[in-house]
């Protein structure tokens, strides 16, 4: 019998081309979109599931909280891993640390070639035991076992060594520490929160006497992972951590510190700590994708159900004839279900082609291409096929039941009295389509505006025409004064400063003793170390006190400090600090002026507050502005803290400015590769998730609307067809074309209006909930809801008016005779 079903379904497809096209195009697009979203969801939820024993693999994180100020750090001080393992061997099987000097990039050289590597880490020898990364060449057991070893990706191996074998070759770290290549990674899974290109053995540092951080319990630059002996051990270990902190951390710090165990598989979707290796994903977006995937599928399924049941009147004769010659309802039910499955299967084939075509362009939330494992052919094929067949069944059951249940009375003479029209049900389904489409439109409008708001908000500092140059890897910082002078000599360069972190993005926390502390008591505050002209370069407004003053230049000009600068120390390097307004509030000073001259000192300094600046967004708009300190770096001891040169160039001479910087670089550090970026571009990258969400929401709302419109088009064609006799009669008795067109279109317009009435409050609630997760967000203005509604109405009118106008323009005789 299935052979007969197949033949019938096949011919049905070709006989009714509009119906088949709308159904198949809608379903195929729906299935393709659904598949893309499912792939994205699979990708996002599969992070770090390739590690062995990933259910007992944890990252240990640190919270420093002193009276509400501090940090939530993804990384830990150096000694914790070893100390934990020593203390709790019954709970901890293995630990591994990763370290990158907290530098934006690290300089390596191969022969005479020099490279700045962003994804360079040093790791313990247990790296390959704890994580599931595989080697294509080399022995994982020994690759990082001794000092001076390095493992790198295949791509880097060919960049460095071309076609020659990489194993055994030497790479120099900082131009001096030799590292021997002991392994080349096999293809790395993209779905890991750990992103790296090179891993060197951490023991290298001590072996070459570079630094010994093993007694540093404050600086916390090591991402630390522990594989526990059992999953149950996590709870016990977590409970033991407070006493561990009390025992090992410096006594004055211990009360502010807590350690947490974070399951490795939760990092990507649930973690947004300070000093994450990379910006992670967000579970909220997964929920959004799931909703979108289901919405798109629902819209496509509704099209199918609506078109099939609307077409029922044309199939009544077929049903009753078949019943008359002996088919029972069940046989007909299966026949119609088979038809749906057939359309579903055809759609699957087209959807597969669509997904195949778009898959090279698919990226995850951070803009990375989807991993090969997520996109592997079997997963793709299975998910498309499963979705198509599921759709065929789900969308087909109702029409199959509906069609096969026609009663066959009055079959003779072709009269059928007991056919249910199903019009109400179809109307409800159409309203659901409008509801979903408008909701998607609203979400794309809101997310786009919030993204624009975050990108264009006044941050309290100037981010335009500021060039940043990473300087951690070279010698250039040793010539900082000459570099600065040489740059400032050119009119295209407005000002030059140097900074510890990218302002508006990252910050550090440093210890300070304020007047709220006992003299030897220190608190951690978000802060940044800078050089002179920081406020000038970033145009940050000073509301009290003064900027850091360069004594050398003051004395070289008139030898006197400016008269209005207030309190001025002999050397600002160890004596001056600038804080923001939030800090003044936090410290409880009645005014900004009242804070000037007050103690705000580091362990090795005698800093006092010399200036207060207006609050500015020193990190992304995902966080509220908290107390913040700007500390003038003391070049004699902390030169290595500086990571970037920040150069403000003249807007009208930007090309000349960039040339000038490049020439300066070539003059001072010709052996180092030159790289730079604009602050604005870098800060825009902070909102990549919002940008991708906006893009995805826009794409999917467009697709949803197209699918829904195809359905509307088909449905309006059927309605016009059904009413053609009525139209003829109305025309015969004098109805005008416009009048008739409006009458035909009005049903769909009213359904769209109902959709709008339901969708707007739902959209408002949804948008308000999403925006509430941002401390700084746009107001929900009326146009965010009016515009999507108007677009939807306009599209509806355009879609249904084709048939309405066509029907209304025919002569009465044509209307009655026309075959639609």
């Amino acid at each position: 019998m299935s052979e007969d079903f197949f033949i019938q379904s096949f011919r049905k497809l070709f006989n009714d081309k509009l119906y088949s096209f709308i159904n198949i195009a809608g379903l195929a697009t729906g299935i393709a979109c659904f598949t893309v979203l499912v792939l994205l969801i699979l990708h996002e939820t599969s992070y770090d599931d390739f590690h062995p024993a990933n259910d007992r693999l944890y990252r240990i994180t640190e919270t420093i909280d002193h009276k509400g100020v501090g940090e939530n750090s993804a990384s830990l001080p150096f000694p914790i891993a070893a100390e934990l393992q020593r203390t709790y061997p019954q709970y901890i099987e293995k630990t591994v640390r990763l370290f990158n000097f907290q530098a934006p990039s690290i300089g390596v050289s191969v022969g005479k070639k020099k490279f700045n590597e962003k994804y360079f880490f040093l790791a313990d020898s247990t790296f390959f035991e704890v994580f599931g990364f595989k080697l294509a060449q080399g022995n994982a057991n020994t690759a990082l076992a001794r000092p001076g070893c390095i493992v790198l990706t295949q791509a880097l191996a060919s960049t460095y060594f071309g076609n020659e074998p990489a194993l055994g070759k030497t790479i120099k770290l900082f131009g001096s520490i030799p590292l021997q290549v002991t392994g080349v990674f096999a293809d790395l899974p993209v779905s890991s929160h750990l992103r790296f290109d090179l891993i060197a053995s951490l023991s290298t540092l001590r072996y070459y006497g570079y630094a010994d951080y093993d007694h540093q319990w404050i600086w916390n630059p090591c991402w630390t992972y522990a594989r526990l002996t059992s999953k149950a051990a996590a709870k016990t270990l977590q409970a033991a951590l407070p006493s561990f902190v009390q025992k090992h951390f410096p006594a004055e710090l211990a009360p502010d510190i807590s350690l947490q165990l974070q399951p490795i598989r939760d990092i990507h979707l649930y973690s947004a700590l300070d000093y994450e290796i990379e910006t992670n994903g967000d579970i909220k977006y997964i929920y959004v994708f799931v909703a979108m995937a289901l919405f798109i599928l629902l819209i496509a399924a509704i099209n199918y159900m609506n078109l099939t049941t609307a077409q029922a009147s044309a199939r009544v004769r077929e049903v009753v004839v078949k019943k008359a010659i002996g088919a029972d309802s069940q046989q007909l039910f299966y026949q119609f279900l088979f038809e749906s499955l057939f359309i579903g299967a055809t759609s699957v084939v087209i959807a597969l082609i669509l997904v195949e075509v778009i898959s090279p362009y698919l990226t995850d939330l951070s803009g990375q291409p989807l991993s090969a494992t997520t996109l592997n052919q079997r997963t793709l094929f299975a998910s498309v096929t499963a979705t198509g067949l599921f759709m065929g069944i789900v969308a087909g059951i109702y029409p199959a039941f509906y069609l096969s249940s026609f009663e066959i009375v009055n079959v003779f003479h072709g009269r059928l009295l007991k056919v249910r029209s199903g019009r109400w049900f179809r109307s409800i389904l159409v309203v659901i389509q409008f509801f979903i489409s408008i909701l998607l439109l609203i979400s794309s409008f809101v997310s786009k505006r919030q993204l624009d708001f975050m990108r264009n908000s006044r941050l309290g500092f100037d981010k335009d025409y500021i060039v940043l140059i990473p300087v951690t890897t070279g010698r250039i910082i040793f010539s900082y004064d000459e570099v600065r002078q040489s740059l400032l000599a050119h009119s295209a360069i407005h000002s030059v400063t140097a900074i510890e972190e990218i302002i508006g993005k990252d910050f550090q926390t440093h210890e300070f003793s304020t007047e709220r502390n006992q003299p030897d008591e220190y608190s951690f505050y978000p802060s940044i170390e800078v050089t002179y002209d920081f406020l000038k370069t970033f145009d940050i407004e000073l509301i009290a006190g003064r900027d850091f003053a360069d004594q050398r230049h003051l004395s070289s000009s008139d030898g006197q400090p400016p008269s209005n600068t207030g309190w001025l120390a002999q050397d600002d390097g160890n004596n001056a600090i600038i804080v923001n307004e939030a800090m003044i509030k936090h410290l409880g000073y009645p005014s900004a002026e009242a804070a000037i001259g007050k103690r705000f000192s580091r362990r090795d300094g005698n800093e006092k507050i010399v200036g207060v600046v207006q609050n500015f967004h020193f990190t992304s708009l995902h966080s509220e502005v908290t107390p913040f300190a700007i500390d003038l770096v003391d070049f004699s001891i902390r030169r290595s803290r500086i990571k970037y040169l920040a150069i403000k160039i003249d807007q009208r001479q930007s090309t000349a400015g960039l040339q000038q910087i490049e020439q300066m670089w070539a003059k001072f550090v010709p052996e180092q590769p030159y790289e730079y970026f604009f602050l604005r571009d870098n800060l825009n990258g902070l909102y990549i998730k919002e940008q991708r969400l906006g893009e995805i929401a826009t794409w999917f709302s467009v697709v949803a609307i197209i699918i829904a419109c195809m359905g509307l088009f088909g449905l309006s064609s059927f309605v016009a067809g059904q009413q053609r006799k009525e139209i003829g009669i109305r025309k015969a008795i004098g109805a005008g074309a416009l009048n008739l067109a409006l009458q035909l279109a009005s049903r769909f317009i009213s359904l769209a209006l109902i959709g709008i009435v339901v969708a707007v409050p739902a959209g408002y609630w949804m948008a308000a909930t999403w925006l509430a997760s941002f401390p700084y967000h746009i107001p929900l203005q009326a146009d965010l809801f009016v515009l999507p509604s108007v677009i939807m109405l306009a599209v509806t009118i355009l879609t249904v008016s084709y048939h309405a106008i066509r029907a209304s323009l025919l002569t009465p005789v044509e209307s009655i005779q026309m075959r639609w």
């Binding site: 004839v321 078949k322 008359a324 088919a327 309802s329």
Partner: protein, 229 residues
């Protein structure tokens, strides 16, 4: 022996709270091997009677005995099974399935009966040859003349060798030459043993039958041996 017997058959339709009596007190017998015409003016209840005795609809009251079994005791499935096994239908509008070829249309009842492909093929071939449509077997209904469509419809109706064939105005959409052909085919079938019940307006067609049941206003007014013949 009666293949169909009705006892006090009545059918009421209710629409917008208005009751319409379509049939009342209908008592008829149709014997095996008979060729019976049902005649009467429009709205007299011919189609309603045909719907009831062909097991398509259920009476409001009274009983139908189909092959001595009361139909009211049968569920939908059993009635569909009886239609499938024992009844054939020829409609005024041919009612062929447009997506199926001549061959497939004729084979359809055998598909529902679960007849295997090989036997199906030989039975379809036999009736196609009998009705002289074998040369059109790959055609679709819309490619055929009315006369050929009705031949196909008859072929479909008899392919399962039904004991009882219902024909509803079988020549209504045909010209007189093709109409006569169809009536001759029905006569041949009847002579070969098939019981035929035909609804018709045409007295000329009624001459082919042995008995005419006259309906008027939902009641049988005569069920006499055909005297027109």
């Amino acid at each position: 022996m009666a293949i169909i017997k009705t006892v006090d058959l009545a059918k009421l339709y209710t629409s917008f709270n208005i009751e319409t009596v379509a049939l009342r007190g209908v008592n008829i017998n149709i014997e095996r091997g008979e060729f019976v015409s049902i005649m009467g003016p429009s709205g007299c209840g011919k189609s309603t009677l045909l719907n009831l005795i062909s097991l398509m609809d259920q009476p409001t009251s009274g009983e139908i005995y189909f092959m001595d079994r009361p139909v009211s005791k049968m569920n939908d499935r059993q009635r569909a099974e009886n239609r499938r096994k024992h009844l054939g239908f020829v409609f005024q509008h041919f009612n062929l399935i447009e997506e199926l070829t001549v061959y497939e249309n004729i084979a359809l009842p055998l598909v529902y009966l679960g007849v295997g492909p090989r036997e199906r093929h030989s039975r379809v071939q036999r009736v196609m040859e009998m009705l002289e449509v074998a040369h059109k077997q790959q055609f679709f209904p819309l490619q055929l003349s009315g006369g050929h469509q009705q031949r196909v419809a008859v072929a479909r109706a008899i392919v399962s060798s039904p004991q009882l064939l219902f024909a509803d105005e079988p020549t209504g959409n045909l010209d007189s030459v093709h109409g006569q052909e169809v009536m001759e085919i029905l006569t041949e079938l009847n002579e070969a043993g098939t019981t035929i019940v035909m609804v018709t307006h045409s007295s000329e067609n009624a001459t082919y039958s042995q008995r005419i049941i006259q309906l008027f206003d939902g009641q049988v007014v005569s069920g006499l041996i055909n005297q027109i013949a």
